[in-house]
């Protein structure tokens, strides 16, 4: 190990951690990323790759604004990464769909959107309910059971595995030290610096950014922070590569730039990443064939389950420790969508040593106490 002293130690080498690390390095910080090993539970390897806006913010209207900010920044973020690494993460903001297979589903969808948009202070992000005819114009291959859906022009997707690799390539090029198999066990503050004990020795840094996903729950209290989590499992089914047939991502089904079709969006209360519920995959497959009957004969080449990083209310947590100045939490579910924010907005705040409350105050974990009291 070259140096063992850093300006910032980022705990967690998933998408949130490496996006933050990249942003910090751009600000001139000396950064180390401490990560687990190859078999870690890593949502960054199992996500659905949407850069998604529609439906975000029910219960916390500021979350809609925060998401749109990232969605707007995404194009430039992808461009910069391409310039730095030569890798194209294939970001496409083509607008996305939520499709309904019955009138009941369509009505439920419309209700959610109505409740969302009736919240005071929400940004209008132009989600539109479409009938079958309107949907069919944009998605000609829908099956007879599709009755309609909602469409949001801000929605998009990206090749998230390539994004993951690109960010790792970019942080390496910017001199960030990446240390796998350095699971952080404890964090203490001693004098002006943080000491992070890992399975492979101690790392010291002036600041700490906790981006360890669901493990933030364990780590945050060590530095006077909190991160109440409730992990859940999602399963995804993937097909062989197909010629392009789908121009817009659907929230449960999208075609990647490589041609494979990803089918997903299940939720189970489980933290076992090894398990896989076949009946859940079957339901996903069944709905996929009803949405797009031309997929019936297509081969499934892989399935997987991944554990979502999920806070207890589903919204992000960005916090700065009062008792341990210099310690921050960066914790959220939608690490692909919010990657641009983490790299371009949150990381500079951490580099400066203070969160900009005008932007992230609503996302403090203190909200959990307010709610509990109320």
């Amino acid at each position: 190990m070259a140096v063992s002293y850093y300006d910032v130690a980022v705990v967690g080498g998933g998408l949130v951690g490496v996006a933050t690390a990249w942003g910090l390095a751009r600000e001139g910080c000396r950064v180390v990323v401490l990560d687990e090993g190859d078999r870690a539970v890593r949502a960054s390897r199992g996500n659905f790759a949407l850069v998604w806006v529609q439906s975000k913010g029910l219960g916390l209207p500021e979350y809609a604004g925060w998401t749109i900010r990232s969605s707007n920044a995404w194009g430039g973020f992808a461009q910069t990464l391409k310039e730095e690494t030569g890798l194209d993460v294939s970001f496409q903001r083509s607008g996305g769909f939520h499709l309904a297979l019955s009138e009941r589903e369509l009505e439920a969808r419309a209700n959610i959107l109505k409740r969302l948009h009736n919240q005071p202070g929400i940004v209008d992000y132009k989600t539109e309910i479409m009938d079958r005819g309107q949907v069919a114009k944009m998605l000609p291959d829908i099956g007879p059971e599709v009755v309609g859906g909602s469409f949001c022009p801000l929605d998009g997707h990206v090749n998230s595995l390539r994004l993951f690799r690109t960010l790792h390539t970019a942080i390496k090029a910017r001199g960030v030290t990446y240390l796998p198999s350095h699971r952080v066990e404890t964090i203490t503050k001693d004098g002006g610096e943080f000491r992070l004990a890992t399975e492979k020795g101690e790392i010291r840094a002036a600041k700490v950014a906790l981006a360890a996903g669901n493990a933030n729950m364990r780590l945050a209290p060590m530095v006077g922070l909190e991160a109440p989590m409730k992990p859940e499992r999602g399963q995804i089914v993937v097909t062989e590569r197909l010629r392009p047939f789908l121009n817009h991502p659907v929230v449960t089904l999208r075609q990647t730039d490589e041609g494979t079709v990803m089918i997903g969006d299940s939720k189970e209360e489980s933290v076992d990443p090894a398990g896989l519920t076949l009946g859940v995959s079957a339901t996903e497959a069944e709905r996929a064939v009803r949405l797009f009957p031309l997929l019936a004969n297509v081969n499934v080449v892989r399935t997987w389950s991944a554990i979502r990083v999920m806070t207890q209310d589903g919204f992000p947590i960005y916090d700065e420790s009062e008792t341990h100045p210099g310690a921050f939490t960066v914790c959220c579910h939608s690490g692909v969508t919010l990657a641009a924010n983490h790299a371009l907005t949150v990381a500079p705040m951490i580099a400066r040593g203070a969160l900009d409350t005008s932007l992230v105050a609503p996302f403090s974990a203190r909200r959990f106490h307010v709610q509990a009291a109320g």
Binding site: D141, E240, R241, L242, R243, F245, G259, V261, F292, L294, L295, N297, V298, N299
Partner: protein, 97 residues
């Protein structure tokens, strides 16, 4: 590349990309292609490179072909049948085929 031993069995008529091929009972689709001297059975969905059956035991998936209109069948595990139509595949498969 290959020849049949004289002892090999009864003819089965199949077509490959529209052309009639004389396969034998006991052939798999992949073996029939090899016996007929067909160079490659698909091009890859990644770079478009030509590929031909490699393992003939179901593990490599190089033998993927369209059989009776259904794409990406493992030719080396599929016995030939009289009247079967086989098509070589080009690049990514077309959904619905």
């Amino acid at each position: 590349m290959y020849k049949r031993l004289a002892e090999a069995g009864t003819p089965v008529a199949i077509t490959v990309d529209g052309k009639p091929i004389s396969a034998r009972a006991g052939d798999t689709v992949a073996a029939a292609l090899i016996a007929a001297g067909i160079d490659h059975c698909r091009t890859t969905p990644v770079s478009g490179a030509p590929r031909a059956p490699y393992c003939l035991m179901g593990v490599c998936f190089e033998c993927l072909v369209t059989v009776d209109g259904v794409g990406s069948r493992q030719g080396c595990l599929m016995p030939v049948r009289d009247g079967m139509t086989v098509e070589t595949q080009t690049g990514k498969r077309e959904a619905g085929r």
